[in-house]
Amino acid sequence: MVRTLERSPTPVVDHGGVTRGRATRRNRAIVVTTAVAGIAVGLFILTMMIGSYPLSAEEVVRSVLHLGSDPAVDFIVWDLRLPTAATALAVGMALGVAGLTFQKLLANPLASPDFVGVSSGASLFAVAAILVVGGIGVTVSMMALIGALVGSLLVYVLAWRDGITGYRFILIGIGVSEFMLSLVGFLIARADLFGAREAMTWLVGSVGQAGRGELLALVASVVVLLPVALLLERSLRVLEMGDDAATALGSRVEVARLSLIAVAVILVAFATAAAGPIMFVALIAGPVARRLLGPSSNATLAAAFVGAIIVLMSDLVAVHALPYVLPTGLVTGAIGAPYLLWLLATTNRVGRGG
């Protein structure tokens, strides 16, 4: 039989299941994304309700929207709880988007900013600021921001060889990461007890430590870069089929890749500057979002909300589950480390990823 590409004369509504399949995927994406967004907002509000002075959801919402008239509630919400809740929300979203972008771009579930030089660059610079200069607050955050950018730039330059490939980027990223973390260890080993304690606290990461300036910078970066990431998702979809296929389909590969890396790195940099290196969120958020949405859907927005859910929940556990307050990074680490082990164990068995 001679098959032909000529369009059939009678209009076919479904085009052999193409329309239906796409509609199914789209509907599932809308439902799931709406659901995770709802959960994230719910946790965001819940975070501001719980505490030594409990508030109702209505009080919180009215106060946040400037509809309330009770100055005591306004004080608790705006001065005490909203900064932490907003930091958790924004950090989670930033890390979720950045993690998914890295993982898809480098076609590897291990390609998380945690491992490829971004977080460790931020850590080195922040710890240096704390211990060498005796910096506090904004100084440390600024240094963390610069460190994240320097770390990722270093990895990008070292991994460049007629373009960037996944494995080179990840392996060089791990190498650079280890190098920087060993310098962090060196700095801490030579520090006095008070400084070392300060540095360790920063290194674990906590959403409660963000100052107003860092928080505003982080929120601004999320507000600006999340839409950019959503626009770039179109490029990401062809880039993940390899450079040759992407070029053949008309993508300007290097420009697209550099933009995506830049968006991801800047998001991580601001998140780390605000809350320290909160581990494993970027690693987990993407795969969870993709599992929920079904494979190969546009998962960037969902990953942002899943990231937010993870950080908000970790913060709730860290602050309220035990009689004493833990840093957020400790809880995300407790969730993330077993996932990483599972990932390493399973990906190698099927011969990909690691």
Binding site: G16, L231, R234, E240, M241, G250, R290
Partner: protein, 266 residues
């Protein structure tokens, strides 16, 4: 009927790292014909195809598409005219057939104009042409090698281009799937006039399916023309360094290359 386009290499030099693989090469791709590029391993045939598809930037000379050097054209505009199936494309984790083929529509969509019924039509037609309509909801990873290759071809078809370049599309396929795929290219060429350029390892299949053969050695073209005109013992010796007998294929009359080897020949 599809449009006829001029695609040619003019004094083209290509290479990787410090080495030039191809220097000062000239070739015309005949419109609405099937051209097959053959040659020994490392003869530069894939490099030439990658150059024609602008995956490699020319180090000298140019690839000319309809009178303009492709480096001066917007890559998205080239993608509407020239499609390519690379040798080893990557399948995103867990991707389904329908989704993968849909990504071939990338050059026809914009930042804000995302998906139309016309895209659905093109994807449906590509699936049907490659006989993969039934697989639409299956994950690519669950398919056999032959099916998978047809799905990749469907993605290239969904791009809906007048020219289609394929880099060793029959690699890793058994003989029946090779023939099936080459039959499919011939269908496309005959039914809609798609210009097809294929890098192929199997000289006998190339002789049977090509209108035009481009034989390469050491980054240069040794001979080009219809298989019946250019393929003989001398050419096989020159291109592959192989002693052979070339007889008319009893089924088609095209040249059939019988390698001599060192054993078994009476």
């Amino acid at each position: 009927m599809r449009g006829a386009h001029e695609l040619r290499a003019a004094d083209l030099s290509l290479g990787y790292g410090p080495h030039d693989v191809i220097q000062g090469l000239n070739v015309d791709i005949p419109a609405r014909r099937i051209t097959m590029i053959v040659g020994a391993n490392a003869s530069g045939k894939s490099t030439l195809l990658r150059g024609l598809a602008r995956l490699l930037r020319p180090r000298g000379g140019a690839v000319i598409l309809d009178g303009t050097s492709v480096t001066d054209l917007r890559t998205l505009d080239v993608a509407k005219v020239v499609g390519l199936l690379p040798q080893e494309p990557l399948a995103p984790d867990g991707i389904t057939v329908g989704d993968l083929v849909g990504r071939g529509r990338y050059p026809h969509q914009g930042w804000f104009r995302r998906w139309t019924t016309h895209d659905d039509e093109a994807v449906g037609a590509a699936l049907e042409a490659t006989g993969t309509s039934d697989l639409i909801d299956r994950p690519l990873a669950a398919l056999s090698g032959g099916q998978r290759q047809r799905v990749w071809v469907a993605m290239a078809l969904a791009q809906d281009t007048d020219l289609l370049l394929l880099d060793e599309p029959t690699n890793h396929l058994d003989i029946s799937h090779q023939v099936e795929l080459l039959d499919l290219f011939t269908d496309l060429n005959q039914s809609s006039g798609t210009t097809i350029v294929v890098v192929l390892h199997d000289l006998n299949l190339a002789c049977r399916y090509a209108d035009q053969i481009v034989a390469m050695k050491d980054g240069a073209i040794v001979a080009e023309g219809p298989p019946g005109v250019i393929v003989d013992e001398g050419l096989v010796e020159e291109v592959y360094g192989l002693a052979s007998a070339v007889i008319p294929d009893p089924l088609t009359g095209s040249p059939l290359v019988l390698p001599r080897g060192r054993h078994h020949v009476r």
